[in-house]
Symmetry: C2
Subunit: 354 residues, 2 copies
DNA sequence: ATTAGCACTCAAAGAGATAGAGTGCTAACA
DNA sequence: TGTTAGCACTCTATCTCTTTGAGTGCTAAT
């Protein structure tokens, strides 16, 4: 059995129609509504072939056909037309302009809301990975006689802070000079570079004056570890998915929503595809269709993910989750758009102003 | 028709049973399983009376009875027995001990997760209101040549920070002395007190040296406004609710989940009851049953809320949302417990150490 | 190669029929 | 006078049976 142009066109139409209706597509429907100039019987024969080749499936004998995962895969890889965002689509992105001077978390959050509202699927984003961030400054700010704030600023603009108790007998001036020592030792290092050795070095440098603050140093080591490990995940539009008939039973809906609460699992689906994988795409866009996903719950869903960058360094990923019957061209176009906007925004925020 | 002790006991039993089973309760069930020493016929008569009095309802003629909102109200106000937390219940609270040195948001978040896990309903908490917080310190920390961080610390330990661009020609020393001016002027004031007048005063004091930093001052005014307005809301265990047959259709589930996304609406249900209201209770615990709730979507749900304090000042509220058929005694006991734990924790964090 | 025609299949929707849980009422009882 | 046994009645949930209609696969004619 070989794949000719007519078969491709018919498959394309079937998938387009099924994406719209979520109902199995029959030969008569195709023959009538699309003008192939062929009778339903001919279409029927072609459909039987396509099924044999694995691109279509039949829920039961007397139903129409629905695309298989393999069908969707072919569709995504070589059938579908790129979707051009319309003026009206683009105007929906308007809100982005207001983001300008915010913090990075806010931007990411806003982007996830926008993405879910634009696509009507569920959006998932990671906050930037900070392993490779460089420390811009470390500050120890006295709050009152007994406590101070440790503040950590990286070049990615993300800040971490923590309140610590100070040992008795430590005054503001003392804290201030320790703060200077810290800044001097740590500024410019990336988080990856700050090893136990480096901390020990600071400890030695402290020997002379700052024995009292040893506990504070431990705290600092701790929050650096925290930041290093931390990648937050935002999801948005979880309830969107409940609009699709695919999720029209409470059990399935519940499983899905609980899955979204499981940050590790969500982080996993955001992983980019490797070269081995079917979903691999060098544009940074990964599409995983149905059973191409590892997770049980995702077997009937598709996930489209993309990178976002600052300059040429990958900072994090964003994506959407929807039923396998997903409007791939449109969704991919929108993800690309959001990703591009994020790139530009973050670039302005962290590179240009340096 | 008057309410005698026997009627009260029967009503009590019916509600207890209905809370367990979610199935209408028939006279035979009560006569058989609870030992009133009465026949089903007698129970039947009493039930007819209770229905006439408005405490029970019948879904249809040949079904058993279910409690009405009025029935639940009587139950909560004067029928139900206080639930004593068991040792095993209490051991579930164990995780709290780990909270000790965290930030306030973390604590609140943790508390909401714990509350939802313990009750199996949906938990809702507000972060502390900061209107009345006093500013402990304001700091302007230079990050690089072009930008600085504004950091605001209140006595409630909550910190707000924002990165601002600095005008050209401003050096670290300059920023530092401005920072000192700010601290001097603002420390000790509560957020409520910081009016436009106060800001103008600072502006005047700046006249001499700091014209360059006027834009930064505006930013500071802005973030103070932000903090003043800001009460965040955490929800947790939203999917718990899907386990209850009351929410066993996708449409209803969806409405509920969307409701939870609407922060203003959720803030509203957390409002304490006024003296006028049925749900009023001076212990700080408010119970709103079914139609006692203003919100459409809550007409078939109950909400139990409580205050949490630091010292004797109300800081925020916590609560749970569940079906009207809710295990009131147990849930109330658990909310009280969590609230007490929060109080203690926050007290340790903000009062003792001062 | 395409198509008209027809027999066949199967899920979904509708129509009874049945079972069972529960009620209300009446009459008998202590 | 309060309680109970008994019975007719009601109503839902469930099961089975039938009907409907969409869609297929195959065959024979074009």
């Amino acid at each position: 059995m070989d794949m000719n142009e007519r078969k491709r066109k018919i498959l394309h139409s079937i998938i387009d129609e099924y994406i719209k209706s979520a109902e199995p597509i029959g030969s008569r429907h195709i023959a009538k509504n699309l003008d192939f100039g062929l009778s339903s019987a001919t279409i029927r024969n072609e459909m039987a072939d396509l099924e044999e080749m694995g691109y279509l499936e039949q829920p039961h004998t007397s139903a129409g056909r629905i695309p298989s995962d393999k069908g969707y895969r072919l569709y995504v890889d070589s059938l579908m037309n790129d979707y051009e965002l319309t003026v009206s689509d683009l105007s929906d992105f308007g809100g982005v302009l207001e983001w300008k001077m915010g913090q990075i978390d806010k931007i990411i959050k806003r982007a996830s809301v926008l993405l879910s509202e634009l696509t009507h699927y569920t959006a998932v984003l990671t906050t930037p990975e900070m392993r490779r961030g460089a420390i811009k400054t470390v500050e120890l700010v006295p709050v009152d006689s007994a406590s101070a704030l440790i503040i950590l600023v990286t070049n990615e603009g993300v800040m971490k802070h923590k309140r610590v108790l100070l040992p008795a007998g430590v005054d503001g001036e003392f804290v201030h000079s320790f703060s200077n020592l810290l800044r001097e030792k740590l500024s410019g290092s990336t988080l990856e570079e700050i090893s136990a050795a480096k901390i020990s070095e600071i400890r030695r440098a402290m020997q002379a004056h700052f024995e009292l603050l040893f506990p504070v140093l431990d705290f600092i080591a701790e929050i650096i570890d925290d930041v290093r490990a931390e990648t937050e995940i935002f999801t948005s539009g979880a309830t969107n998915i409940l609009n699709y008939p695919e999720f029209n039973d409470v059990h399935r809906a519940k499983e899905f929503l609980e899955f979204l609460d499981n940050k590790e699992a969500v982080a996993e689906i955001l992983q980019p595809a490797t070269g081995q994988e079917a979903g691999f795409s060098d544009g940074g866009i990964t599409v995983r269709i149905g059973k191409e996903n590892k997770q049980d719950i995702m077997q009937k869903s598709s996930v489209i993910t993309a990178n976002y960058y600052v300059g040429d360094q990958v900072m994090g990923r964003l994506g959407i989750i929807g039923p396998t019957r997903m409007d791939y061209p449109k969704t991919i176009a929108k993800i690309k758009q959001i990703s591009a906007m994020l790139n530009r925004l973050l670039y302005d925020l962290y590179i240009e102003e340096e």
